[in-house]
């Protein structure tokens, strides 16, 4: 009997021991090779007592296509594009990975379909592996190329205010002076630096080529929406559908617009975040359905609209549009707001006010009652009228009067009255108007009308001083 008892004791000890060993890795997961590497990198003293060097291994791209195996694609691709992919998955893995996950990748639209150009194109280039072949490529992909498969979208774009983004800067003397003389300080070499890093990256630029056909570093890379390409086509689809994924879901999110529609002069993303729509998006947007087919993305897929929903999407009876001016009544960025009434995309009033309002009301009424919609626009329109008549008109009257009497400084950016005038319409005035029309109360009020009344009073004081003394005040 004692012998049997002893055997049971031995078995019990063995079972407990095996159990403990089996559980150990879970309690201390540092035994996997992956973590070991990380651990040793984080505590170099323990791993490498001799050297003090910290070595951290970082994957360039987390979902790197060549992390484990190389990508060999043969389905429906031309021979050249297959070669592109075989090298570029090492050279630029992010680009190849984006493409792999894109709709383009699914339908076999590949490198050469977009980057291939004819030999006689001004921007035709060849990198070393192409020399000797009749394949010519360009890093520049103009909207005319996108139009080959997406003609309706580019045509919409060409009628929108976005079309004008770079062209309007080119044509304005005062703007050129601001960029090169004032912001660029007439620097002998780099007077264009402010323009290249600022203006161009939202508005776009006329892309110039060097003698090899490659874009010049002064004009490229550029993320502006109104780029003018060497073939004359205007626009930049990759601003909202970033390369090389060109994702419809990405462009439907407010962040797609936010890299340009932000800041003191047109805080549209901030207004959206401030609005009830933005609040709902922030609270639960990550659970919504973002990739429904074009014209089939409807309330239910989302619980509140984004920028794209109201300004572009085929919600309800409306057709999708890439003309962002199509559903607008007012110009809300000009000095004085006026209803839109022009077919010329170069006009500040491009669009049709009555049709635009009717379409936007259809958008609103996809979720709201007609009474709600009518009340919303009544409140917004009143705010525009208030800005126009009680702020802009008196400010403009004072400016014209001072100009006529020679009581303005030649350099407007060194003249308090003129700086206030600029801020009144370009910053505070836009914030008030855009905040009011897009449901952003903080921007309509505290950053808008509250600031406006102080600017106007200060301008009136300066105006009265200059008229009474027939002189410009000295600092």
């Amino acid at each position: 009997m004692p012998k049997t008892k002893f055997s049971w004791f031995v078995i019990l000890v063995l079972v407990l021991g095996i159990g403990l060993v089996a559980c150990a890795p879970q309690a201390a997961p540092a035994t996997t090779s992956q973590t070991e590497r990380t651990e040793s990198a984080l505590s170099p003293a323990a791993a490498q007592p001799v050297s003090n060097k910290i070595v951290v291994e970082v994957d360039r791209n987390i979902s790197n296509v060549n992390a484990n195996s190389s990508l060999a694609v043969s389905r429906n691709l031309d021979e050249v594009s297959k070669e592109c992919i075989s090298c570029h998955q090492d050279e630029t893995p992010g680009i190849v990975n984006d493409w792999r996950e894109s709709r383009h990748g699914h339908v076999s639209v590949s490198c050469l379909d977009c980057h291939g150009v004819e030999k006689d194109a001004p921007n035709a280039t060849q990198h070393s592996s192409l020399v000797g072949t009749d394949v010519y490529i360009s890093v520049l992909v103009p909207p005319s190329k996108c139009a080959e498969c997406h003609p309706a979208e580019t045509e919409d774009f060409d009628h929108s205010g976005h079309h004008r983004a770079a062209l309007q800067i080119e044509g304005k003397d005062a703007m050129q002076t601001l960029m090169f003389v004032h912001e660029g300080q007439n620097h002998p070499e780099v007077s264009g630096a402010s323009k290249a890093t600022g203006c161009n990256q939202c508005h776009g630029v006329r892309i110039e080529l060097d003698e090899t056909g490659a874009p010049t570093p002064d004009t490229w890379p550029v993320a502006g929406i109104g780029n003018i390409y060497p073939d004359g086509s205007v626009g930049n689809c990759t601003v909202c559908h970033t390369r090389h994924k060109f994702d419809i879901a990405e462009a439907r999110k407010p962040e797609a617009c936010a890299s340009c529609h932000l800041g003191p002069d047109h805080p549209d993303i901030e207004i959206y975040e401030n609005s009830k729509h933005g609040q709902i998006y922030a609270a639960e947007g990550e659970t919504w359905k973002w990739d429904s087919a074009p014209d089939a993305w409807e309330p239910g897929d989302y619980r509140a609209p984004t920028c794209a929903t109201c300004h572009m999407s085929g919600i309800g009876e409306l057709s999708p549009t890439h003309n962002v001016s199509e559903r607008l009544y007012w110009n809300l960025w000009g000095k004085r707001s006026a209803p839109r009434n022009s077919e010329d995309p170069m006009s500040a009033l491009t669009g049709n006010a009555e049709e635009g309002r009717a379409k936007m009301e259809m958008v609103c009424e996809s979720c709201h009652t007609p009474r709600h919609t009518a009340g919303f626009f009544k409140q917004g329109d009143d705010a525009i009228k208030l800005y126009n008549e009680s702020y802009y008109d008196p400010a403009k009257k004072m400016l014209d009067d001072l100009k006529e009497k020679g009581l303005l400084k030649k350099n407007p950016w060194d003249d308090e009255f003129q700086i206030l005038y600029y801020h009144l319409w370009h910053h505070d005035g836009r914030r008030a108007r855009q905040g009011a029309m897009m449901g952003g109360p903080d921007w309509a009020h505290w950053h808008g009308f509250f600031e406006l009344q102080q600017k106007l009073y200060r301008m009136q004081s300066l105006y009265n001083y200059r008229i009474e003394n027939n002189a410009i005040e000295t600092p």
């Binding site: 339908v107 639209v109 004819e118 006689d120 498969c149 003609p151 045509e155």
Partner: protein
Amino acid sequence: MKKTKRVLYVLGAIAGLFVFAIASWVFIEANIDITSRPTFCVSCHPMEPMVASYHNSVHGGNNPRGVTADCTDCHVTHENLPAHILGKARSGTHDFWIMYTRDTSKLDWEAKRLRREEYVYDSGCLTCHQKLEKATSSNPKAFIAHRAYFRGETDDHCVTCHKHVGHKDISDYLVQN
């Protein structure tokens, strides 16, 4: 006797007319064919770069089977036969007139390329490429890229996108000229 002779004359006249009709048909058809080809068009000197770049292109025989399209296959409408004959006569007369009344060295061909939709006819393209409309998603590039065109959702012509079709590297040839 007299009657038989008259019958013979009538029969002879009918046979003669028949032969004449056949002969003129052959003559006209042959002439239309001859004057549709690059060998005829290049007999006017200004057409040399167009024909040289044509021979370099897929449509000019630079393809595995050596198949070629004639000049008029693309540059004259193929809506219907009368329109085709009329269009051919009109543009032939126009080119002949310009050749002998203008200094053709001063023509800006690159500027003319920008309005290529006016002198390359989709009806010509679609005479050969008629199956393009039936493309399915199993050939995604043919299907997706031409869907808007066949659905009538764009005013673009074939050559709006296919800028160089028929004349590979034509700018190089125009410069050399």
